[in-house]
């Protein structure tokens, strides 16, 4: 890392999540610094998505805390967590299928206040201006992610790779501080994967803080500053890509072949 350490933006503090007897996540702790990209890897079932669900508010943790800056956010409902600045994408795409591409992005744009919402319903001139402005911003975001020209299509009609990028755009729409990406390149061919890596790099360039769950080591090695390795719900290792790659227990756990090819 060059220069002074950036501030800590997201802290996972000894988080555990048990479902009855099943210990999905046990005592996981790590910090995420501003504008850095952290990879979260581990075999299937190691608790990665569960951890995302805890961070994003879909689950309350059985133990532990999640902090955004100084503020404790564990246990807050998902929409509050999103408004505080943590948004996410989903492993299995969850787009608003019958909405347009632009509509998907605009749906994620927030109101300033209840008064703004009421003005929008009644369509005051300032509300009209606001809508036009948001529409413009949405189009900019879509352009950034290579989705120009598709703004008016129903989201369901997009090819797979674009749908994933649309999810990304939508998660960006609210101006988040931290973005959680859950397997952004799952099921993609090499070209789509490459496009997605580009998109992720653009987000990094904008200064966004990212946490990425992935199995594809190429993506991890190409985008992440730090990697956290989970196994059976516990943190196995943490460090730079090189450190993790050469960590014997990680290699032993499961990496082996994938790392050799990355």
């Amino acid at each position: 890392m060059s220069g002074a350490e950036a501030e800590v933006v997201l802290t996972v503090d000894k988080v555990s999540k048990f479902f009855g007897g099943v210990k999905a996540v046990t005592d996981v702790a790590f910090e995420v610094r501003r504008s850095r990209t952290t990879g979260l890897i581990g075999p299937n079932g190691s608790g990665k998505t569960t951890l995302f669900n805890v961070i994003s508010g879909f689950y309350g943790p059985t133990a532990g805390r999640v902090l955004l800056g100084d503020r404790e956010i564990q246990g807050l409902p998902p929409h509050v967590v999103a408004r505080l600045g943590v948004t996410r994408t989903f492993q299995n795409i969850r787009l608003f299928n019958n909405m347009t591409v632009r509509g998907n992005v605009m749906a994620a744009m927030r109101f300033g206040s209840l008064a703004d919402r009421l003005r929008d319903i009644v369509l005051t001139p300032s509300a009209r201006r606001e809508r036009a402005e948001l529409s413009r911003k949405a189009d900019e975001l879509l352009a950034l992610l290579g989705l120009s020209g598709h703004e008016d299509q129903p989201a369901a009609s997009l090819p797979y790779g674009m749908k994933k990028r649309l999810e990304l755009a939508r998660a960006m729409a609210g101006g988040p501080t931290v973005l959680l990406l859950d397997e952004p390149v799952a099921g993609m061919n090499p070209q789509e994967t490459s496009d997605m890596i580009d998109s992720i790099r653009k987000l990094r360039a904008q200064g966004l803080t990212l946490v990425v769950i992935e199995h594809d080591m190429r993506v991890i090695m190409n985008t992440c500053d730090r990697i956290v390795v989970l196994s059976y719900g516990m943190k196995l290792a943490e460090g730079t890509p090189d450190e993790v790659r050469s960590n014997p227990s990680v290699i032993e756990a499961y990496l082996g072949k994938e790392l050799a090819h990355a």
Partner: protein, 287 residues
């Protein structure tokens, strides 16, 4: 006072037995097939009317009209499964609920057309015989009702535990896919479940026939209450349905008798809301 309470409790148990009988059939459908059937009350109502027709038009005695009634409603159940619920097997969960509401209305209306709204009564078989123990009296008719209900429920329990169909049903309620893999054919089990539920509901109707005046709307409130019992007792849990049924019967009777309350029918719905509010944590989107 004590005698009064005892009498209320005894009457409540009998009513509860009927609730339990109707609820145990519905809980099988809800638990195994994951269906909410709002027409179940109408199965009960049809049971009473089929029994009436068998008794008056065909001159059947108690056991024959009971069996006719059970068979008739079982058939209605099978037809309902085939033409109302099966087409909606893959539709969103609300669809079968709405369709069953439609079925409920249609069956009520059909009965209204066929039997008119004339208040009719099933002749009882033990008219006039009353037993008294320590100030608490029960008519023989009511005892018979309770006894038959108990027998049918026991048969149901045995059936579910021992026969291949029963085991198949239990397997399906645990995991539909695995059950399918192991050879349980849902297209055969589903109609069976409905036949079972129909037979039991029909029996409940036929049994209460002699006790109350028959009306096409008699199933409406019953259907809703029985549904509440299924939720309280746990979908698929026959024992739970039984306890819930008896509990509701006794509570309603006590409230009605002790407080001269016209609101006894509300109890079931208030309990429903209370129970639903406890289901919250698993349903509010935080899985």
């Amino acid at each position: 006072m004590g005698t009064q309470i005892a009498q209320l409790v005894v009457n409540g148990v009998i009513v509860g037995g009927i609730y339990a009988l109707a609820a145990s059939g519905l809980t099988v459908i809800t638990g195994v097939l994951n269906l909410i059937n709002f027409a179940h009350g109408e199965f009960y109502m049809l049971g009473a009317y089929f029994a009436l027709t068998a008794a008056t038009a065909l001159g059947f005695g108690f056991v024959p009209y009971l069996l006719v009634s059970m068979a008739g409603v079982a058939l209605v159940g099978v037809l309902s499964e085939r033409f109302v619920f099966r087409p909606l097997r893959f539709a969103p969960a609300v669809s079968p609920l709405i369709a069953s509401l439609g079925l409920s209305i249609a069956l009520q209306a059909a009965s209204l057309v066929i039997w008119q709204a004339r208040p009719l009564r099933l002749p009882g078989i033990l008219e006039g015989v009353v037993f008294s123990v320590g100030g608490v009296s029960v008519s023989a008719q009511r005892i018979l009702v309770c006894a038959v209900a108990a027998v049918l429920i026991l048969i149901l329990q045995y059936f579910i535990k021992r026969t291949w169909l029963g085991i198949g049903i239990r397997a399906m309620s645990k995991d539909l896919t695995t059950a399918g893999l192991v050879g349980v054919d849902i297209d055969r089990v589903a109609p069976m479940c409905f036949a079972l539920a129909g037979a039991l509901a029909g029996a409940a109707g036929a049994l209460v026939g002699p006790l109350f005046v028959l009306q096409p709307t008699m199933g409406a409130l019953m259907g809703l209450k029985v549904f509440v019992l299924v939720i309280i007792g746990g979908a698929g849990n026959v024992t739970g349905a039984i306890y819930a049924g008896i509990l509701l019967g006794v509570t309603e009777n006590l409230v009605d008798g002790l407080f001269a309350s016209r609101y006894k029918d509300i109890i079931a719905f208030v309990v429903l809301l209370v129970v639903l509010s406890f289901k919250r944590e698993s349903l509010a989107g935080r899985d």
